[in-house]
Amino acid sequence: MAIDMAQFHQVFFEESFEGLDAMESGLLNLDLGDVNVEDINTIFRAAHSIKGGSGTFGFTAVSDFTHVMETLLDEMRDGRRQITQPAVDVLLGSVDCLREMLQAIQNGGEIDNQSVAEHKQALDNALNQTGISAGFVPESENPPAALAVTTQSATEPQIDGWNIAFSPHLHLLKTGNEPARMFRELATLGELTTIVDLQGVPDLYDLDPEECHLSWKLNLQGNISAAEIDEVFDWVEDDCDLAKLPIYSSVTAIAPPEWQDKADEENGQNAISPLVKAVVAVQNETNDKDGKKEETKTAAGKGSSSIRVDTGKIDTLINMVGELVITQSMLSLIGEHFELNKLDQLKNGLSQLERHTRELQESVMNIRMLPISFVFSRFPRLAHDISSKLGKKIELKLIGEHTEVDKTVVELLSDPLVHLVRNSLDHGIEMPEVRLAAGKPETGTVILEAYHRGGNIVIEVSDDGKGLDKDKLRAKAIEKGLIAEDTILTDKQTYELIFMPGFSTAEKLTDISGRGVGMDVVRRNIQALGGNIEIISELGKGSTMAIHLPLTLAILDGQSIAVGDETYILPLGSIIESLNIKEDRINRVVGKGETFLLRGEYLPIIRLHEIFKVPNVRAIKLTDGLLVVVEGQGVRCGLFVDDLLGQQQVVIKSLEANYRRVEGVSAATILGDGSVALILDIPGLVRLANQ
């Protein structure tokens, strides 16, 4: 039966990555002074599972590598080897290497053999170090079965068969092994004759029916190797006395007379032989059937992304669907014989339908939600590595790891967060002596916290380090030519300087952070997710970077607006206000278009009907329509539209995936009446208007 093993690969990769994460956090949490055996066991089990799986699924490079790790861990587990920091570091390095190997295999890439060899060498060194002999003993051949008498020489004549004496110990049946099963297997090798020896059977009074009192003399015909017979008795070699003698061509293939005599006396031969033969016949039939059985294939799509969902969530979903079906059948019952007096029932039914649809939507969205611990879990390692590299003492606290966020957000959030945490570790927290001199505790604290606020998730990276120095930031920005010398900046605006491209305040570049690219990219990435980032800092006390993100990227709170016959959607969060405009507030600047005055600020006016070339607009004159004041990526402008329609949640459909990228439009959605509406992208609109 050929089974497509590829269908299990995805699950294997997922569980292996989970196992690696578990190993990593287990290794990081090891208290070297007082090691808990169960901790080591957990780490060992993860390595062991990866080894077993990779071997089974044919990833030999991975299983070879894991084997060495496992050996090291096994010795630690058994107390044969002391657990030292260098050994833990080697293991942590191996975890990384293994992760890279698995990623390479998963993505169909090449394994970095050099890196693998280096890590393997490091492991081997660790194994050989303390003088304790490595536990790794190459798999030895199975020792020959007890009492086996096989001495084969090159000139030996061909074997025609075997005489086997098999005396099970009393407890054999209690191991789940069944002599009849072994005879059946022998019978597949050649023609088998069995002679039972009943001598050991005690009187009825002394008989324990759960014990095996029988023994057998077996005669097996055919050119069969000793190894084939040993294999049959492999599981019971310690539970029986076994002797086997080969029969060579010249010898007549008949059981030795002394066995025959006894058997005939007891008349056991006839009793057992037909039984075995019948069973063998049945088994052959079964084999045929299985052989013909068609294989079923469910090929798993390569590189498909999957998600692990709490079964509780699925149960809720099923519940909802059940409710929905009930409502639907109730409605169709009303519809079948509709009379006006059923109007109230219909209204009730429809409002129930609405409620259930909304609940269903919520629970479906919920399925995409993952705990943020998926991102947070990598930081203890990062903190460990960086603090040991820099000689700093840092404690990392994770709060709200179970806060749930959309899967896409989780994936895209990872890089920006790494950057922020690195900054805190590298630039934020001071060296221990500096901290002591400043009257702070020697150990710095970095807190990574996630929580929900309204429809947003907030993720904060805070440290009790030195904080941002406003004067330094300002001086740097002037030096780099990013701002003019006389620019007046609020505190907030000063902090935001670090988000400008090409800005870096570290006096010395380190390989940990501060390559001068980064913070601008961090902000861009977060904005791409529909979020923003804000800085709170106090010199000498520490800084906090707060990221605000929408909970999901699949649904948007939108405001529908009308322009001619078209409907567009604006993200509700981007709207500041809507107003009727008076002629005296409008300014027309040659070459720069129209602006209007709002509380002392001149904002550009963007006429949507012009940008999208919409015919049949109701309002051409600015005073006839409405101005929607919007803000996106720090840019404010007024969008000139015919009318505001209504607010609703819209499901975001990618325009790029279904059509192509269009400037000024971020996505599309389908409205209640089935028509398509475009969702506007404010920064894109501003760019478009400036062209």
Partner: protein, 120 residues
């Protein structure tokens, strides 16, 4: 047809074992560790147990030992899936009452052959 309990903490191995055995017509119930397996084995009687050795919440050897002590599992075939080809795990398994073992890595054919061997 016979019902088999497949015990492994690794989902991919469990799926592989389960898929292979189901393909051969067996009914398969999966358990994620020794404790889960013991509970399932008490709720329903299986004709064969196939278990991994290294697992959290009761390993395969302790599971076999516990099962053997139950009246329904005195003679049931119990196989260990093991990477340790060293004799110590096998020996421990045998002492606990294991019928035999399948050495990892194994392919579906080997698994099926072994199962058919003990199930007849």
């Amino acid at each position: 047809m016979a019902t088999i309990l497949a015990v492994d903490d690794s989902a991919s191995m469990r799926q592989m074992v389960s898929f292979t055995l189901k393909g051969a017509g067996y009914t398969v119930v999966e358990a994620v560790d020794g404790l889960d397996a013991l509970n399932k084995a008490k709720a329903q009687t299986f004709d064969c147990i196939v278990t991994d050795v290294n697992m959290p919440n009761k390993d395969g050897i302790a599971l076999i030992k516990d099962l053997r002590a139950l009246p329904n599992y005195k003679f049931t075939p119990m196989l260990m899936l093991t990477t340790e080809s060293g004799m110590d795990k096998k020996q421990q398994g045998k002492e606990a009452g294991a019928t035999g073992w399948i050495v990892k890595p194994f392919n579906p054919d080997q698994l099926l052959k072994t199962i058919q061997k003990v199930m007849g």
